[in-house]
Symmetry: D2
Subunit: 353 residues, 4 copies
């Protein structure tokens, strides 16, 4: 198929449709409103369902309902709106319902502003809601990667019966790049025997619920969930490396920041600093393997984020004291430029010598 | 004052009133409803204000309003309800508003059940909402400690202009113990010059907001917040140790679980295992110091929680690879008994030898 | 087509589907919940959209959205739920949007009970919401008449761009009778050039709104509405008479009560009382013509209602002092039986001599 | 006390406070927002409670709660907001709870505009919500009359245990006039033995509810309500007349429109037309007596309203065919001027000759 020039938010929407998602419930919030608008426009054309809900809370609960009926369903929001959905995400996880939830992060905390930020890392990776649960979190860095990861998000959701988060930031949502959609056969979606589509009087009604009053039964259910999370950790970790093989220093960055970091790394290499990058693509499960591989080889790690320091905790856990872990970040919607990342690298390499 | 026999939930309420809190907004949810009921009964008697809100979301936003007016204000909930408040907590943090939020944790995820759990550790310590913020989290283990920590919660909230979380579980909320309230002079509350109590035409209106559209300004605001968090980390860490001095193994436990752990430790000592305990009282800031002190001395740590393993991450970060960190937990509302904790200790000591 | 035995609530739902309604937004409330359940079951089968909203308020506003897009859309509720929709009905009327709203009345005021009542006559005929508007109100008395009037409701809604109310009571909703659905060509629905279905870049966007800040413009809009209401009053009045030709006394009753009244009238005739009935089928516009015809002939009118006396006001307005107008009613869910209606008739006839 | 110059909305608020109302729950909507703002400012000063609710629906239900506790409580809104409160008003009526609800009407239907209108006459006098209930409706025409009628509203509410509506329009709310508040002894409020203020373990709990599942009991409750409404109709009708004694024609107008009508009447008198006015002060109960007195004397009535014709129905019912009833109205926020009312009078007098 030919390449088309689109906005990041629109690419998410179109990729979801290509993945067979015909149901969207949402509430507009900058900087992801183009996604909602695109869905409002496109879904009726393909006999899909778009509904702008009364609130973020209503939207996530409609997702719960649609997911229970076995259809592919998506909602999207930006940071404050995602916070409002936390109870619903915990319910989806508890009831083992597949759904894709997009979070296009913006500057916070509170109302903050509408500039890009990565300060929702904690709330998407540590289970921002209540109870012991995790959701796979996918963090694309280019619009073409959005196409792949949005498809993957729906597949993971269905395979593991879990909500999946697609995490971007305002920069990714607003930028335009040419993308290519591959043909997908939207009709061969996985069968969902558990879906509550009605018994038509044949057999006992299926029940989807996260309620379990008996503590032993609820613990057994938690064991099931934790076993599932272990399988996901085994199988579904995704990451990328850049000039890592001979690296003495290692940047860690994800999403749009990894693109800025690449420029800085190239420039640092020209300055004689042997530096590479680990780019987590799944933020949960966090890619521990490459850190185990490199933590004894490199002199120091540098986590670069558009936050006050959140992923850096997972980096520290993965490095486990085997090497220094430093941090460089900008917040409040300020996008780091490659020269200040370069300075941070120089400082790291200087400090590490 | 004489000791009185009360339920944990009621002790929180009465301690809040002793701390000068005359404003409560909430929504009933088991297992913390006695707290709401107590406030409904008591506050009108002392010319205070109790309001049962339309929803958890409404309640936390009423807290925002009352806090803006400079009064001491509290809300309380249990796990799913706390998730719904996440956006509001981020707003309180962003607007630097003092408030006390009680979370009496229950089994999850989702609707779960109404038995005790500690599986909200992540959502209260990692900033369950959006943006870079933390809230001090206090975790009492006895009803008498509730009295102290509730008072402390209000004082920290006012001193640092921050929401503070008081974290318990259904066991703590429902148990009865004799407690003693000390006389507090409720009238000498700290003056709040920033409060929006009206200018009466004198001077420019004060504004309380978490909105800051300019990214550089919002980053500066984040620097202010982060500096405040550094100060809190310096000054406000609280923890307790138990038979730690000569310990070769160390349990880490908080809240009600620490009481069960004590019995298990005593019994383990009788079995010849030199084991002690670090009990974090502030979950954020997490007490790193005692781990730095003991991590080179002990053979292994064992985090015991009523969760699938959440605090254990902070333990690993604090131990930083200097010693093995194991985990024992029960979930879904199952309370670990001291003999299974003892077994876990024996297994740790066996495995560590 | 063969006759099928169905519940009244289900007949409304199936008749709506026959009328080409593929969109339903609602919230369950007794005694109309079978309607919601039927739609939840049937609409997905025909590629329609069923959505259980967060609240009655949400449901009516979703109806507003769907109606704006030009599709046939329905919501339904019972008395307290209908009250909550009043703002939305006024918005639909102000924006001239076609929609069908079902009200299956129950005992009130307040929470009341779930037994049949006609005490919502005022709120459906006098514009229960704000501003100068009316909605056509259709009141079927049999399940077969439901089939006709539900179809008519959608046709009137589209023809006059107005919300239309279908008013029943719990008895009508719960009773079972054989009904026959005629084949309808659901595809030839009226074209709606005003619908906001997107311009695809071609021409100026259409706007649906009830906002008009300029008072003169809003008055002009009100003139348009009032002219439309005049046309509806001219063309769309529907009523039935029973044994009216030689009547000396006249019962006025609608809906299920008219069926009870018929038995009483037959018995009264056997007792020598020349009595007939006017049965309004449209409650708004109220059928004034038959009253103008009979008010000089009959000795007295008797309005029989399951209310404390509401339609009786419209009867008095239509009779305009030309004859006495008496009232007999039961309330709170009590269904009048034919013998007490007969007594009321005897008392009327005795008193009128 | 000295006269003070205030806005109408503020006069309502201050008069409520003079009447002992220390509890206000509301939601801002133009053109009554000054009332809310005034309460927000004043109530904290007198240890009262002001709460801006999450929505109009929340506000009216908070009124229900406060009224149940026996305190004097008020809410206020404008037309669309009042529609949203209809369910709550029906609940207050059903539960026989005293409360004062202010409606400062604006142009409609739907969102309309923020100019003055009287097009909520139906929804306040005919029980805009479900079930058989009425609320006394007071319609002041001057700011000084607001002082009296606001006090009266609270007294009627308490005496008859009923919600009472104070109906104004944007003009009345926004105009400024000097008013005088008389000293009221706010402390001697009527005792409310039925209030649910807690039993303190002494006796059975009191219950406030509008639920009555048994139909016969609910009908009995309706008889109680209807009997109460009869008593109110006997005792509490209020109206005023102007130059009515020798009138051959009669204007009917209420609220601000009656002031415009007076000028027109004076001018008509100078033109030799013997015309007077009946001004209903209570819209419900509607003053039927003066119509019974004058309907045989005058040649015609003219209802003048800022609506498309609503009160005119009650005028027709009261006149009962004994004289022609004409209507003149402006809508959409247009305020009739005295010269067009004069023209309407001339046309009436011409047509009546």
């Amino acid at each position: 198929m030919p390449k088309v020039l689109m906005k990041g938010n629109e690419v998410i929407a179109e990729a979801a449709i290509h993945a067979g998602c015909k149901n969207f419930f949402g509430y507009p919030i900058t900087p992801q409103s183009e996604l909602v608008a695109y869905m409002a426009n496109r879904l009726p054309e393909i006999d899909g369902l778009f509904l702008q809900a009364e609130s973020e809370v209503a939207a996530i609960n409609m997702v719960y309902g649609a997911a229970s009926a076995g259809v592919r369903v998506m909602t999207s929001s930006s940071s404050p709106g995602f916070s409002l959905k936390q109870e619903g995400v915990s319910y989806l996880a508890g009831a083992e319902l597949p759904a894709v939830i997009v979070n296009i992060g913006r500057g916070g905390p509170g109302l903050g502003n509408i500039q890009p930020a990565q300060s929702d890392y904690f709330q998407v990776t540590k289970g921002g809601g209540h109870g012991d649960y995790y959701t796979p979190v996918l963090a694309p860095s280019t619009l073409q990667e959005i196409v792949e990861l949005t498809k993957l998000a729906f597949d993971l959701a269905d395979e593991y019966r879990t909500p999946v988060v697609l995490l971007g930031d305002g920069m990714l949502g607003q930028m335009m790049e040419p993308v290519e959609f591959t043909e997908e056969d939207m009709k061969v979606l996985p069968e969902k025997k558990w879906a509550t589509t009605g018994t038509r009087g044949d057999g006992a009604p299926k029940v989807i619920s996260s309620l379990e009053l008996n503590d032993v039964n609820l613990e057994n259910h938690n064991h099931t969930l934790q076993s599932k999370y272990e399988v996901i950790k085994q199988r579904e970790v995704r990451f990328d490396t850049y000039r890592a093989d001979d690296a003495e220093y290692m940047v860690v960055a994800y999403g749009t920041v990894s693109r800025i970091a690449k420029s800085a790394i190239d420039e640092a290499r020209e300055n004689g600093i042997k530096i590479g990058m680990i780019r987590p693509i799944t933020l949960w499960p966090f890619p521990e393997k490459p850190f185990e591989e490199y933590r004894d080889k490199v002199k120091a790690f540098l986590s670069v984020e558009m936050s006050a320091g959140q992923m850096v905790e997972d980096v520290r856990l993965a490095v486990n004291g085997k090497a220094p872990v430093e941090f460089f970040g900008r917040t409040g919607g300020v996008i780091p430029n490659h020269s200040e990342v370069l300075e941070a690298i120089k400082s790291l390499a200087g400090g590490g010598q």
